[in-house]
């Protein structure tokens, strides 16, 4: 029981170990980027939290009247599932993607106008990983054996059975022991939580190059080649901690269409056998 309570109290301190999981719950604070993000100051008292791809993880705050010309909100959400359905502003809450490595071949993507939703931007306003994990002890001798964690069961129920890479890799292969606010790739380069693709791509190179050219993953914004697009990063659709169980976290579907008049059940047509 006390374990449970402690887990509740410290929940906020440990969410950052969620590796791939986004944490953008807070409705506060505009940190610059007024051009990329819509007028959040207009968010009323009744702010609505919606989720994009992963429930309870890739959350977004609905802002009423974000586009005053048409009276649009920044997003419209499903009343039944809380999922984001419609974007009045496809660039809501985004920042420029920044530099991308050059491939120098036909798989070179077009990143000049690419924007992403930043996770680190929101770390500043929530609890940082380094608040609990200063990284001094572990950096000297990082424990590299799979073991049961005392915390973070919400992220991975049994860390000793982590199946990413079918058990070949372990938390600290991706999370940086020296600086818990960052990730680390196989060559021990520090990778920002915003740039998960650089880490994921170091193993999943094929998928990464397809993502760069727009074959894999999702874009929103302008359809033109070279237009301003929001690039959805790896961890906005996939949860790396449960990827072996399911490619996408299961979600509740939107309600089915109304049955044709006079039809009591959708099974009717199959009953004529």
């Amino acid at each position: 029981m006390s374990n449970y309570m402690r887990a509740g109290v410290f929940y906020g301190l440990f969410v950052l170990l969620a590796g791939g999981v986004m944490l953008q719950n807070e409705a506060t604070a505009e940190e610059g980027k007024s051009d990329a993000a819509p007028a959040q100051d207009k968010a009323g008292a009744a702010s609505v939290e919606c989720y994009e791809s992963i429930k309870d993880s890739t959350n977004l705050t609905k802002v009423e009247n974000a586009n005053p010309k048409f009276g649009y909100p920044n997003v419209k959400c499903s009343p039944t599932t809380g999922a984001v359905l419609w974007y009045g502003d496809p660039y809501t809450d985004t920042v420029p993607m920044g530099e991308m490595p050059k491939f120098g071949d036909e798989t070179d993507g077009d990143f000049a106008q690419a924007v992403i939703r930043s996770r680190t931007k929101h770390f500043k306003t929530t609890m940082q990983c380094s608040g609990c994990h200063p990284g001094t002890a572990q950096a000297a001798a990082p424990p590299n054996e799979p073991r049961q964690l005392q915390m973070h069961q919400d992220i991975i129920s049994d860390a000793s059975k982590l199946q990413h890479g079918r058990g070949a890799i372990w938390c600290l292969d991706c999370h940086n022991a020296a600086n818990r606010d960052t990730l680390v790739d196989r060559r021990k380069n520090e990778v920002s939580f915003d740039e998960s693709y650089k880490l994921c791509g170091s193993c999943h190179g094929d998928t990464y190059s397809k993502w760069r050219i727009g074959l894999h993953g999702k874009r929103t914004g302008e359809w033109k080649v070279g237009g301003k697009k929001r690039w959805w990063t790896c961890t906005e659709c996939h949860n790396p901690h449960t990827i072996q169980e399911h490619r996408f976290n299961p979600v509740k579907p939107e309600p089915p269409p109304a049955l044709p008049r006079g039809m009591s059940s959708s099974e009717t047509s199959s009953k004529h056998e």
């Binding site: 048409f70 419209k76 499903s78 074959l215 359809w223 996408f248 509740k252 269409p257 004529h272």
Partner: protein, 343 residues
């Protein structure tokens, strides 16, 4: 004589003097001429000028401007908010194409709901332009038992009966059941895949051939559009379409003002009256402005790709170049610009 009597009865019943039926009919005759097509419920009636306007493509620029101004005024009053009806021209050198990854689709129906919010479909009766089919895995079989389903039992003619097997409820060779109305707690389900169907924007559209008044036609970007004011509601196009992509407004559309999308296009998502056909236009009002269609932006797994088929660098062209692609009901030679693919 009898009319006078009835008038008296009416008067006695309610204690009020009603206008005579003859007067009433006289007024009705005048009113009917003025508001022939006016639905009783709308705040502002369709004007005579709107009812008599020509085909959109044949109007002069001035006539188009007038028609759009009329519509904007009527919609703004009807929905109590400033509504724009755009006439953005089709961009040059663009042929719109769509690709959908059926191995990624999880059947969450967010595309359906996004489409409804973007395109001002009637909420009651509910009209949806996208239908997601749930197919059982292993849907097609060559098992003798299934292939023989529905065949007449063996006769003197042998086992090769006249009927080729199956029926409308269960076509031959189909072992599973295709469900439009699935409602599990969570998707994706095991043993199922999902197949969203919407207008395929055919290069040789059967609906366009069927329309007797050319109210539906292919625009320069390859999108099949409808002039809702020119449509006579005969529903020939609906019969001709092999994809069940067209929806008819049987009833007076109900669209709550707060849910109405005020950014519209004449050929796209402007509110439709009763008695006309409607269908997916690849969100014409968005794509002519450079935005992705609403369904592309709503898909949580990135299964939907959209772009210019004439640009080899576009996402759609890259899908066509590298993936295993098929078109739905290819045998009809409708040449869809909507492609399904698999990883």
């Amino acid at each position: 004589m009898s009319e006078d009597k009835r008038e008296m009865v009416d008067e006695q019943d309610d204690g009020q003097v009603k206008e005579s039926r003859r007067d009433f009919l006289k007024k009705m005759g005048v009113a009917a001429a003025a508001t022939a097509a006016a639905p009783a419920a709308t705040a502002k009636a369709v004007s005579i000028a709107e009812a008599l306007q020509g085909h959109f493509e044949l109007m002069s620029d001035e006539q188009k401007q007038k028609a759009i101004a009329r519509l904007e005024e009527r919609y703004s009053e009807q929905f109590s908010k400033q509504t724009t009806v755009a006439n953005t021209p089709a961009p040059d050198g663009v042929l719109f194409g769509y690709a959908l990854n059926i191995s990624k689709c999880i059947g969450c129906r967010r595309c359906v709901e996004a489409c409804v919010r973007e395109n001002n479909q009637s909420r009651d009766p509910a009209i949806q332009w996208i239908r997601v089919l749930r197919m059982e895995k292993g849907n097609v079989t060559f098992d003798a038992k299934d292939l023989n389903a529905g065949k007449p039992s063996s006769s003197s003619l042998g086992d090769h009966g006249i009927q080729s097997g199956g029926h409308a409820g269960k076509p031959v060779g189909i072992s599973g059941y295709t469900d439009h109305y699935y409602e599990p707690e969570q998707v994706p389900e095991d043993n199922a895949f999902y197949f969203p169907v919407q207008c395929q924007q055919c290069e040789k559209p059967a609906c366009v051939k069927a329309c007797p008044v050319r109210a539906t036609y292919r625009d320069p970007n390859g999108i099949v559009v409808i002039d809702y004011n020119w449509c006579i509601g005969c529903r020939m196009c609906q019969l001709a379409c092999p994809y069940w992509a067209r929806r008819f407004n049987w009833g007076e559309p109900v669209l709550p003002s707060e849910e109405m999308n005020p950014k519209t296009h004449y050929l796209g998502n402007r509110p439709r009256p009763r008695g006309v056909m409607e269908k997916c236009t690849f969100c014409l009002q968005r794509v002519r402005d450079g935005r992705y269609p609403a369904c592309v932006e709503a898909c949580p797994v990135g299964a939907r790709k959209f772009g210019n088929l004439l640009d080899p660098e576009s996402e759609v062209r890259k899908v066509l170049a590298t993936k295993q692609v098929f078109r739905f009901k290819e045998e009809f030679n409708t040449d869809p610009k909507f492609f399904y693919y698999m990883d």
